[in-house]
């Protein structure tokens, strides 16, 4: 294999890694806040992609133009899921929590199939299209835009969590919910907000992905699996670490595809994950 192919792959993996990281960030945020894994996370992504698609098909909005709309919709959706489902299982055993979100995942996927059918859809002629040639390497512009967008969203999220009062209240709730509520933080509101922000992150990721990826009811499944691995690799609840973990996942996926075989790329990512958690059960940067 030539160096160029390898570099090309690395760049592609890096770009995709930022998007993976953004998807995983929402998952990690929610987990850090209340120790619940949202197994419907991939379906949130799918809904965001469909929202983008329909804004394009019906309202003639480009994915980038409709991005704020999608993010807002998903934020509201996250709030609704929290109030409609999650609030009721906060004290339930882990098994019930797992299956509540699994049930939601099955429900959302089936709902999408019932409403929009199973065909693959694609946003044609997005605003950002074509590719860039840099010193013999080709970079897809939609991918580049998605990657930069994801990075920007990630930066915004980080700023929000670490620099605003609400963000600090979120962190306080994640650290110790009792102490936080004694300090006058409404933890229920923080949980709801966490679900809203978590869904908004994946909403942004979905809108960005919709620029160049096929849209269908099952699209969330493989991204969600990667997101769980990314979160666990970075360490549950550690949002900044998901950025590094996302890049690792993106790059490893591409390298495995190039060096071993494309069919095995996910298997290699999962194997890497297993190796890492065996060596560090809390993930690369996690607290246990």
């Amino acid at each position: 294999m030539s160096v160029e192919t390898l570099l090309q792959g690395l760049v592609g993996g890096l770009l995709m890694g930022f998007v993976y990281a953004l998807i995983a960030a929402g998952l990690s945020l929610i987990f850090g806040l209340m120790e619940i894994v949202n197994f419907a996370h991939g379906e949130f992504l799918m809904l965001a992609m469909f929202a983008t698609f329909w804004s394009w098909a019906l309202l003639k909005l480009d994915p980038l133009t409709s991005l704020p709309l999608t993010v807002g919709l998903l934020f509201l959706f996250g709030l609704a899921v929290y109030h409609g489902l999650i609030r009721w299982i906060l004290g339930a055993p882990m098994l019930a929590q797992i299956f509540a979100t699994f049930g939601l995942a099955i429900f959302l996927r089936a709902a999408a199939q019932a409403l929009w059918g199973v065909e693959f859809r694609l946003v044609k002629n997005p605003l950002v299209d074509g590719r860039l040639a840099v010193g013999g390497l080709f970079i897809g512009l939609p991918q580049l835009a998605a990657s930069l967008g994801a990075l920007a969203a990630f930066g915004f999220l980080h700023w929000f969590i670490t620099r605003t009062e609400t963000g600090l209240a979120l962190q306080a709730t994640a650290q110790d919910r009792q102490a936080a509520s004694l300090m006058g933080i409404d933890t229920q509101r923080m949980f709801a907000l966490g679900w809203g922000i978590g869904a908004a992150c994946v909403g942004a990721a979905g809108a960005l992905l919709a620029m160049f990826f096929y849209i269908f009811p099952d699209v969330g499944a493989s991204f969600a699996l990667l997101a769980y691995v990314t979160v666990a690799l970075g360490g549950f609840g550690n949002v900044p670490a998901t950025l590094a973990a996302g890049v690792v996942v993106g790059v490893v996926e591409v390298l495995a595809g190039l060096l071993i075989a494309p069919a095995f790329k996910y298997a290699v990512v999962f194997a890497l994950y297993l190796v890492v958690v065996l060596w560090r059960p809390q993930g690369l940067f996690g607290r246990y």
């Binding site: 894994v37 489902l85 019930a96 509540a100 049930g103 429900f107 691995v229 069919a263």
Partner: protein, 321 residues
């Protein structure tokens, strides 16, 4: 009669009804539904041994199901071995595999464990899709042998014998669970489920006992897999190795009630006919209404009674009694 005697009489009567059922009902479809209920009840019971009693939530049990299905089919195809022998070989292989998987993943806890089992399931599923000798993504047909025979584990005339075999498998799973419940193993497993660190501090070799629960669970699941292959005559990675199957197995147990002897059977008796009914009523429209109902039901059970239907029934009994 004592309550205990009454319960045994009730169980014996129920069993008698189940044994007579295929003699009275000869249509293939009701028999098929019953066979499917038995199979899933049995698989859910096997999962329950590990997840319900020992608290280790595996989301990758399809691996053992697939191991059973592939082992018996490959041995029948390439070595001409009777599927009964293949079934046994599949169970042994699944137990060995479970120990190899368990050794690393049991060091993880909670969500890390659950996600690791998904990862293992996905890896093995991918390997099977790409393993050409084992049929790859195209799958395998079980070599058809006529006429019907018990030795060949093939019956083309009617589903009656499959019915009895699946019932026997279910009884085996129930019997094993009952034995475990009342043995030292059962108490140790429950202690590990309640508080792993406390169990370890009392001198329970936690890792070793998790492995035993895993071995039992995997072996039983593989028996179900071999049965499935002989019943359907066709297997491929998509039907015997998918994560969706792992989840379905858990759902049956969760709906009925985890950590109970009868929960998985109750769950299967509700979920499987519901699935068949919605599939027939709404299936083929491509609208996935069956899955809509499934998903809503699961959310409802998780919210209303996380202990499943068994917990609901027990609560009712306490109230009236």
């Amino acid at each position: 009669m004592t309550p205990r005697g009454l319960r045994w009489a009730g169980a014996a009567a129920a069993l008698a009804v189940l044994v007579i059922f295929p003699q009275v009902v000869t249509k293939p479809f009701p028999r098929h539904v019953m066979i499917t209920i038995f199979l899933y009840a049995m698989l859910a019971q096997a999962w329950n041994l590990l997840a319900g009693y020992c608290g280790q939530i595996s989301l990758g049990h399809a691996v053992f199901f697939g191991t059973g299905a592939y082992t018996s089919t490959l041995l029948a195809k390439h070595a001409g071995l009777s599927p009964w022998g293949g079934m046994l070989a599949g169970a042994v292989l699944a137990v060995l595999l479970s120990q190899c998987i368990g050794y690393p993943v049991f060091r993880l806890r909670g969500h890390y464990f659950a996600i690791a089992t998904i990862a293992v399931g996905e890896i093995i599923g991918t390997l099977m899709i790409n393993w050409d000798w084992a049929g790859g993504a195209r799958g395998l047909f079980v070599p058809i042998k006529r006429p019907d025979s018990w030795i060949n584990f093939q019956f083309h005339e009617s589903k009656q014998n499959y019915y009895y075999i699946s019932l026997a498998l279910l009884l085996l799973a129930l019997w094993v669970t009952r034995r475990v419940e009342r043995s030292r193993l059962g108490y140790y497993l429950r202690a590990i489920r309640e508080d792993q660190d406390a169990a370890a501090s009392l001198g329970i070799p936690v890792a070793a006992y998790k492995q035993r629960a895993m071995a039992l669970s995997a072996g039983l699941t593989a028996l179900g897999g071999s049965f499935y292959a002989q019943y359907i005559f066709f297997i491929d990675p998509d039907s015997v190795f998918p994560t969706a199957l792992s989840i379905l197995i858990c759902l049956v147990a969760v709906l009925g009630g985890v950590g109970t002897l009868w929960g998985p059977l109750v769950g299967a008796a509700i979920l499987i006919p519901l699935g068949e009914w919605t599939r027939i009523s709404f299936g083929g429209t491509g609208k996935a209404v069956d899955l809509l109902v499934y998903g809503a039901l699961i959310m409802l059970v998780s919210v209303i009674q996380p202990g499943g239907i068994m917990a609901l029934a027990q609560r009712g009994r306490r109230r009236t009694g």
